[in-house]
Subunit: 232 residues, 2 copies
DNA sequence: GGATGTGAAGTAGTTCACAGCC
DNA sequence: GGCTGTGAACTACTTCACATCC
C-alpha cells in the first residue's frame, strides 16, 4: 500500500470534480517545463477563485509552500494519489461505434492505472478485429470481470448492457447513453451526456446570463455531486 | 418572440443542469405513452429528491397540478422553452475523428433547434466527403458563422481552433479537448472531459465513498455552474 | 385525499481576510 | 514581502414541512 501523508480528510464532491482539472493544468505546466505555480494562476486557468484552489488543495495535506506557491511536480503526484490513480483499473467498453472507438483510442480518456481489458460489440463485422490493440468480442459470449464498465451502445440496448455488466460483477458503470439505468443498490452509475452541456450553452445564449456577457474571462463546466435517490 | 407564461425567474445553475435530465425522462415517458407523473417518480429516475424536483420545476412557472402531479407533455414543452430550444442554433464541428463523427451522427447530441451548418477537418482524405449529410470543408478556408462551435480536434491544435472560431465571430464554444482555452472576455467556453467522470468513479472506488456502499439506488453525474475567473 | 408550491430551516460550498510561515 | 492554509462570514442549494389548491 503506497501511503504518503494521505490525510484522508473526506473531500467534497465539487472538490473531487475539480482535482482532475488542476491535474490537467499541472501536467500541461510540466510539459512546458514550469516547476512552480501559485493558487492565483491555477485559479485563472481552472476558472475558479484562488481561495477555492487553496481550499481544495489543502484537503490533500499541506502541499504548498507559504510565500512561494506550489511545486508543480508535487501537485501532480499528490492529486494522482488522492484520486486513486495508483490503483489499477480494468476497464471494459461495450459498443464500438464512433464513440466507443474514440474512447478506446484516446490517450486522454484512460487515466494512469486504467487499462482496457475488454472491447465488445455485437456487430459481426467488428468481432475479431483489433482496436487499440485489443480484440473485439461478442458481449453475448460473456463479459470479462473488470473494475469499470463503459456503456457506448445505442440507447435502446443500454439497460440490457447494464444488466450484463452487473452480471459480470462490475459495480462501477460509466454510461454514455442518455438512458437512465436501473441498477441494484451498490452499483455506481455515472452519466455523461454531451447534449447537456450544449443545452446549458443554449440556455445562457438565450437568456444572456452566466458565462456570456458577465465580463468573464472564461468558464469551466465541471461535474457535480452524484445525488442519490433513496430506494422508495 | 414566443412568449408563454415565461416567468423569467432566474434559474440556478444546478437547476439548469437538471432540466435536461427531467426532459430526457419526460421524452422517454411520452415514448412509452405515459401522460402523467409526479415529483416522486421524477426524482427517483433523475436521482434527486422529490423536493428538489418540485423546487426546480416551480421555477418555470406553475406547471403542475396539486393533488395529481405533472402532465408529461406540458413538462416537455415547458422545459424545452426554458432551455431555449425554441430558438435556432447553428452548430459547427471542427475535427472529425471518431469523436467528431460520433457527435455529428448522433441524434442525442443535437437538441431541437440545433442544426449542423459546418463540418471541418484538415485531413485531405475527409475534405469533400459527406458526413451526416454535410460536406466536410477545410477550416483554413474559413469557418462559417454559427451560434455554437464544437472543438473535437487533437489537444495540440485546440487553442488555434478556438482562435479560428472567435475569428468567425462564434461566441459559444463546447470544447471536448482537455485543453484549457484562452478566449476573449464575452466568449463562453464549456468543457466536456470524459476522463473526469472516470476519475470520479476511481476516487469513489478507492475510498469506498459516495456512490458506492452508501446504499444508494443510483447516481447521476450532472454539470455544475461554470465558475468565473476574474480577469487578472 | 393527495400532490404541488413555497416559506423556513438546515446543510454545503465558497469567499473573505488574516495569522502563520517561508 | 508574499503566498499558503484556515477560522469565520457569507452565499447558495437542498430538504423539511405544511398551507394550498385540485
Amino acid at each position: 500500500m503506497s501511503s504518503a501523508i494521505n490525510r484522508n480528510r473526506q473531500l467534497s464532491e465539487p472538490t473531487i470534480a475539480r482535482l482532475p482539472v488542476y491535474q490537467r493544468i499541472a501536467q500541461e505546466m510540466l510539459r512546458r517545463g514550469l516547476t512552480k505555480t501559485d493558487s492565483k494562476r491555477l485559479g485563472e486557468l481552472a476558472g475558479v477563485t484562488a481561495a477555492t484552489v487553496r481550499r481544495d488543495l489543502s484537503g490533500l495535506g499541506p502541499l504548498g509552500t507559504r510565500g512561494s506557491g506550489y511545486d508543480v511536480q508535487t501537485l501532480e503526484v499528490q492529486i494522482d494519489e488522492a484520486l486513486g490513480h495508483n490503483r489499477l483499473y480494468d476497464v471494459v467498453i461495450i459498443g464500438l461505434g464512433n464513440l466507443g472507438r474514440a474512447l478506446a483510442g484516446s490517450n486522454n480518456f484512460l487515466i494512469r492505472g486504467a487499462q482496457i481489458v475488454g472491447l465488445y460489440d455485437v456487430d459481426p463485422q467488428l468481432i475479431g478485429t483489433e482496436i487499440a490493440g485489443v480484440t473485439v468480442r461478442d458481449p453475448r459470449d460473456g463479459i470479462s470481470p473488470a473494475t469499470i464498465g463503459v456503456i457506448c451502445t445505442p440507447t435502446e440496448v443500454a439497460q440490457e448492457t447494464a444488466n450484463a455488466l452487473v452480471e459480470a460483477n462490475i459495480h462501477a458503470i460509466l454510461n454514455f447513453s442518455p438512458m437512465v439505468l436501473e441498477v441494484p443498490v451498490g452499483t455506481a452509475v455515472r452519466y455523461v451526456d454531451f447534449s447537456i452541456e450544449l443545452q446549458i450553452l443554449a440556455y445562457h445564449l438565450t437568456n444572456g446570463t452566466g458565462p456570456l456577457g458577465g465580463g468573464l474571462l472564461r468558464t469551466l463546466g465541471l461535474t457535480t455531486p452524484p445525488v442519490a435517490a433513496r430506494p422508495s
